[in-house]
């Protein structure tokens, strides 16, 4: 019975070695496919008698070298999938967002105690605008922090554009329906494009509202209508009574779009046009 091992082929007639060059061995090993019914584990002494190695130490060394090469190649291939980096990018973006918010809130608190007569009441002053006020009025450490926050805002908008552009490329159909940023967030929550493509629309609809969903399942609170997709304007701008319907239709179309992205990887204009019409129609109050 022929056995194909990493170091060569072995059968009743003997052993044909595949050389001792680790690169060539790795290349050959990557193509091996074992039939487990007739498989017999390796006896390393066969490799010695075959002239590949002289000692067990050499045997393990060469095997390690071959396996390490193979593993490195497989890792490289896994990381080449374009959605892997996008995942990290969008998670970083959300992280930067929350850091900016916390720094800003703290800076405002600090500024208020340095300026007893200051109040945000009756002035439209969101935290972002407060930053300008602080930079004009503050000195020392607070000013440094304010300037750093401002720089972070720059980092954030550049990163956002990058995320959006990458999402357009990785998932053109999903991005066409809900925009690159929200598309990327869906991807991040699902854990990858292949995972997203395997999800039913109803799951996509409530991705990101797990807390509400499980409280619904456990305690019978009202079910969530939307998760991450609420961030899309057609959902959050929809009149309250049809919001659930818009979310449901949008999610159903997203499920199809994700499959198109995963299996075809190119924009399908006919589908997008049709889907947009359906989603818009869902938002009309009867």
């Amino acid at each position: 019975m022929l056995q194909r091992y990493w170091f060569g082929d072995v059968d009743e007639q003997g052993c044909r070695g595949a050389g001792t060059d680790p690169a060539a061995l790795a290349k050959r090993a990557a193509t091996l496919c074992t039939d487990m019914d007739s498989y017999v584990p390796i006896d390393w002494e066969v490799a010695r008698d075959c002239g590949i190695v002289r000692t067990r130490e050499e045997y393990i060394d060469l095997l390690r070298e071959v396996c390490t090469r193979l593993a490195r190649e497989k890792i490289t291939v896994a990381y080449q999938a374009r959605d892997v980096e996008l995942l990290q990018m969008v998670r970083m973006l959300d992280e930067v967002d929350s850091v900016i918010n916390r720094l800003q809130e703290r800076a405002v608190e600090w500024y208020q105690v340095t300026n007893p007569s200051f109040s945000r009441k009756y002035r439209y002053l969101p935290a972002r605008k407060m930053l300008g006020v602080i930079r004009r009025g503050a000195r020392g450490g607070l000013l440094d922090v304010a300037e750093e926050i401002d720089r972070l805002h720059g980092v954030r908008s550049r990163l956002m554009r990058e995320v959006s552009a990458r999402a357009d490329e990785v998932m053109p159909n999903v991005s066409a329906l809900i925009g690159g940023l929200v598309a990327a967030r869906l991807l991040s929550r699902a854990g990858g494009l292949s995972e997203l493509a395997r999800m039913p629309g109803s799951t996509i609809q409530v991705l990101g509202s797990e807390q509400a969903l499980f409280s619904h399942l456990r305690a019978g609170t009202p079910p969530p209508k939307h998760g991450i997709i609420f961030q899309h304007r057609r959902v959050h701008n929809a009149p309250r009574e049809v919001r659930g319907r818009v979310a449901r239709v949008l999610a159903a179309k997203l499920a199809i779009a994700a499959r198109l992205d995963y299996h075809r990887g190119v924009l399908v204009p006919e589908f997008i046009e049709e889907a947009q019409k359906r989603i818009d129609a869902a938002g009309v109050v009867a």
Binding site: R4, Y5, W6, A29, L32, C33, T34, D35, M36, Y39, P41, I42, D43, W44, I60, D61, L63, R64, V66, C67, T68, L70, A71, R72, K74, I75, A78, Y79
Partner: protein, 200 residues
């Protein structure tokens, strides 16, 4: 296995993951490693210098590095790219670890690299843990040991862990003799070590 007082340790080069050193030995923390927990809870399985081990679900190589301190050769199988990066680094410094990137569900992927082993250690977070164990028996010597670290939560979160263990045990007994079953409380919740031996 070496113990300093009550502390389980292993001989070898330290600094793999920031583990504490004790009298020149690496401390093997039962909270981080299920094998250490099993041993300290009275499990009678010793790692001996001549052993060849197949380790399924090697992850970042934390437990693998300790096992490698005791035995002759460890075949470490891991599937996910991110932990594999760490495992490769551990294997670079420990000459008796063979790092294999493959799916424990598909033994045909790594069969061309495998010899017969004295111990198969399986710690994978998959729902079909018993099935994976059965597929990998082909690498185990008659009389060798199979250690299954059963994660009940990976099998089915909704079911009672005790039921899951009973079912796994029954499944393993189809092809192996179960010699020890030990829950890993208080170190690991909803985990049990099932040690089996392969019939001669």
């Amino acid at each position: 296995m070496i113990q300093v007082g009550n502390v389980l340790v292993s001989p070898g080069e330290g600094g793999v993951y920031g583990e504490r050193m004790l009298e020149g030995y690496r401390v093997w923390d039962p909270r981080r490693s299920k094998f250490a927990a099993y041993y300290l809870l009275g499990g009678g399985l010793d790692l001996t210098p001549g052993m060849r081990v197949l380790y399924l679900g090697a992850a970042n190589g934390t437990t693998v590095s300790h096992v490698a301190d005791y035995v002759e050769t460890v075949y470490a199988v891991e599937f996910a790219p991110r932990p594999m990066q760490d495992l490769l680094e551990v294997a670079r410094r420990r000459k008796n670890i063979v790092p294999i990137m493959a799916d424990a569900n598909r033994p045909c992927e790594y069969a061309p690299f495998m010899e017969e082993v004295d111990l198969v250690y399986q710690d994978v977070a998959q729902p079909n843990q018993v099935e994976i164990a059965e597929k990998n028996l082909v690498f185990l010597k008659p009389g060798g040991y199979f250690v299954l670290m059963l994660k009940m939560r990976s099998v089915d979160v909704r079911r009672d862990p005790a039921d899951v263990v009973a079912e796994a045990r029954a499944g393993l007994e189809r092809s192996l003799d179960v010699v020890d079953l030990r829950w890993l409380e208080p170190y690991h919740h909803d985990h049990a070590a099932i040690v089996c031996s392969r019939r001669e």
